[in-house]
């Protein structure tokens, strides 16, 4: 990617902003975001990430699901944390997502369209900057 001018930066920002808002980047309308800060990784977020990828492949959902990483969500007491945005279902943050739980997540949330028991934790703050 080449150096940008001011106008190119502004254009990029607009495009990306819409992409993020649409949440169906590259035609993938399901998003899974894994918290990959040190706290998450220490609690096994890398294994969770791998388990999610494997499980999604197993269920043939690769073309629909976009897996992303992010930093610490602040819920350090329930790492690893995974946020799932599925159209038609509430966006939730799951905590204590071990690799086993990750497989269960794909099976239940993505396939059976039900939420997982005992793993939901809310984002701690209403993000004022969103608005």
């Amino acid at each position: 990617m080449a150096r940008m001018t001011l106008d190119e930066l502004r254009a990029l920002r607009e495009t990306k902003r819409q992409d993020l808002a649409r949440r169906d980047v590259e035609g993938k309308d399901i998003q899974i975001i894994v918290g990959m800060g040190t706290c998450g990784i220490a609690a096994g977020a890398k294994l969770t990430f791998d388990a999610l990828v494997d499980s999604i492949q197993k269920h043939g959902l690769e073309s629909k699901v976009l897996i992303r990483q992010t930093g610490c969500m602040g819920l350090c007491y329930v790492e690893p944390t995974v946020e799932v945005a599925y159209p038609g279902m509430p966006t939730v943050i799951y905590g204590k997502m071990t690799s086993d739980a990750a497989e269960e997540l794909v099976q239940k949330h993505l396939v059976e369209h039900t939420l997982l028991d005992n793993h939901i934790f809310d984002r701690p703050a209403a993000d004022i900057l969103k608005k």
Partner: protein, 596 residues
């Protein structure tokens, strides 16, 4: 297809104890009874952190937030919410004394206790993708700074915002910048202090890991404001992921022309280099940090001259901590007035805390200045683990003091915490309960300072060791009352006569605990007793013969071993040989092992 409704039942400790499990089961049963099993999923969740109003049931997608729910309400909730598609108004959370009936989750006070400026992108964007940062208004502030504002205007905004250094001391950032800007020098530096070292603190690490570009953007803006073209990020080598993320971010910013020569065609140049610290706590002190960057031994040097006038290699240098910097792009984007409206009179904006210790919801939180400790600990943090009794909270890590129950309603600000004998510090917040011993805790912090004293300055170098020796003596039951006077005397000398704040604040934890818990110290000294059972020398493990069934589990667990006894006969601990590891105490299923 997805279910129509999702009912989230709080499964936190607080709610569980007020029958949330029964509510959960009743809701499922009612859904079946009323024949709407397929239209609703009932889910048990982690703690909502709103324990005061528990048990909580939250219904999605309607965002209905029910508080103080009872099992007998389940029937009505299913009937109204699932079948009729409307809310059970009487159970909805109401703002105190207000008539407003239904309030959505995002409007609830509790959830607004957190306020994310610094952590705005953490847990939201992919930190290794500059485009996601840009999409969330990243580098908008830089555009403003480069193309619309003069250095003085930037400084004026910083001053008007009231932003103060988040590293602990709370020096006004705009004033610091202005001082450096006024010095006539071809070469100046911007330094980001990411040498986070307080035990239990990880705000800076998480910020960099989650949103590295916010720090870079702020550094470039600072460079423009003071006339610097070079920046250093001094980060501890023990933060490999944060370092990697920074490297990626710097590479991406350079590739996109957001850093380096002629940024965005503005003609302004700025470069950032990473410098790794070797893990010395004292290198978080700004003059020691600069010494370390220069390749010298990390020891504080006298101020003045202040680094803003004569810093790195003798050039004007501003040193800002990660959290301070992460605020800056938002301040420039949203304006000084917006920022100054948040917080208290003298402490503006928010503060990130790493909430740890004996707390249910440990984690990284960001609250407006002026929030009380009680709100942080009991609302956001969900209270004390296991329903134990709150003893105190340590802010400012080894530099702070314990804050006790009676002071919990103090609104947090730089000044208020100092008045309580603690300090803001960088934002570590460690909660202690009745199982923590103040002597033990003070000894722990003093041991940290003993290890981290650079050795330059006599009060700190010797004082920390002498105080640690006294605390150790007391924790072993060998103390005398005069030791408390000695502790206070040395502590005062360290506080007043140390060169830097490491020594200047090292006595705080001890002095604060002596002030608040003198009786506990006296218990150790006079009664040779540690009520929390943390001071091993003062703890005696014994087996109550009447309760012991002679299963032998304790004897098998004992690593010494010093527990003897015939099968099915009461066992005995040889206290002279006992190392007080507590394994027998944990192992016994009959409460026969006692600790006193």
């Amino acid at each position: 297809m997805a279910k129509k409704n999702f009912m989230l039942v709080c499964g936190g400790t607080g709610c569980e104890s007020s029958k949330s499990d029964e509510i959960y089961r009743t809701l499922i049963k009612e859904a079946e009874l009323q024949g709407v099993k397929d239209d609703v999923q009932v889910v048990k969740t982690g703690c909502f952190g709103f324990c005061e109003k528990g048990p909580i049931v939250k219904v999605l997608p309607s965002e209905s937030f029910y508080v103080e729910v009872k099992p007998e309400d389940a029937k009505e909730i299913i009937a109204e919410q699932v079948i009729k598609g409307r809310e059970v108004k009487r159970l909805l959370y109401k703002k105190s004394q207000q008539t407003a009936d239904n309030i959505k989750v995002q409007d609830i006070e509790f959830y607004q206790k957190q306020f994310r400026i610094v952590l705005r992108n953490c847990g939201v964007i992919n930190p290794e993708n500059i485009e996601e940062y840009i999409a969330r208004d990243g580098y908008v502030a830089l555009e403003k700074a480069l193309f619309e504002m003069s250095p003085q205007q930037i400084i004026d905004v910083m001053k008007a915002s009231g932003l103060r250094g988040r590293g602990g001391a709370g020096f006004p950032t705009g004033v610091k910048w202005e001082t450096a800007a006024k010095v006539n020098s071809e070469v100046k530096y911007v330094v980001c202090n990411a040498d986070e070292g307080d035990p239990g603190a990880y705000m800076d690490r998480s910020t960099i890991e989650g949103d590295p570009h916010s720090v870079l953007e702020a550094m470039i803006i600072a460079g423009k404001a003071i006339g610097a073209h070079n920046g250093y990020i001094y980060i501890r080598a023990e933060y490999p992921l944060a370092i990697d993320r920074l490297k990626v971010a710097i590479a991406q910013a350079k590739e996109r022309g957001l850093m380096g020569v002629d940024i965005l065609g503005s003609g302004f140049d700025f470069d950032v280099e990473i410098r790794l610290g070797a893990g010395a706590f004292v290198c978080g002190e700004e003059t020691a940090l600069l010494q370390s960057i220069e390749g010298n031994r990390g020891m504080p040097i006298p101020k003045p001259p202040f680094p803003a006038i004569k810093g790195l290699w003798g050039k004007p240098t501003i040193i800002n901590n990660v959290e301070t910097l992460a605020n800056i792009p938002v301040i420039l984007t949203k304006g000084a007035e917006w920022f100054a409206a948040i917080g208290t009179d003298k402490s503006k904006g928010t503060k990130v805390f790493a909430l740890t210790g004996k707390i249910n919801n440990s984690g990284l939180i960001e609250v407006p200045m002026g929030t009380t400790l009680r709100e942080i600990i009991f609302d956001i943090g969900g209270g004390i683990k296991g329903g134990k009794k709150f003893k105190g909270v340590q802010t400012g890590g080894p530099s702070g003091g314990i804050i006790v129950e009676k002071d919990l309603d103090t609104p947090i600000s730089y000044e208020s915490l100092i008045a309580l004998g603690s300090m803001m510090g960088s934002g570590g917040m460690i909660v202690m309960d009745e199982d923590d011993c103040v002597v033990d805790v003070s000894k722990f912090y003093m041991a940290f300072c003993v290890d981290e004293s650079c050795g330059k300055c006599a009060p700190c170098r010797i004082g920390t060791n002498q105080m640690h020796a006294l605390l150790d003596k007391i924790s072993k039951g060998n103390g005398v009352e005069a030791d408390l006077d000695s502790l206070e005397r040395i502590g005062k000398a360290m506080t007043k006569a140390s060169l830097c704040m490491l020594g200047g604040s090292a006595a705080n934890p001890t002095l604060a605990t002596i002030r608040h818990f003198r009786d506990e110290y006296m218990e150790h000294i006079v009664d040779h007793k540690c009520r929390a059972g943390k001071c091993k020398s003062l703890v005696v493990y014994e087996i109550i013969p009447a309760k012991c069934i002679g299963c032998g589990l304790c004897a098998r667990k004992c690593p010494v071993p010093c527990i003897t006894g015939e099968k099915k006969q009461p066992h005995v601990i040889d206290t002279a040989r006992c190392i007080k590891c507590g394994e027998c105490f944990k192992a016994c299923k009959f409460g026969a092992v006692t600790k006193r």
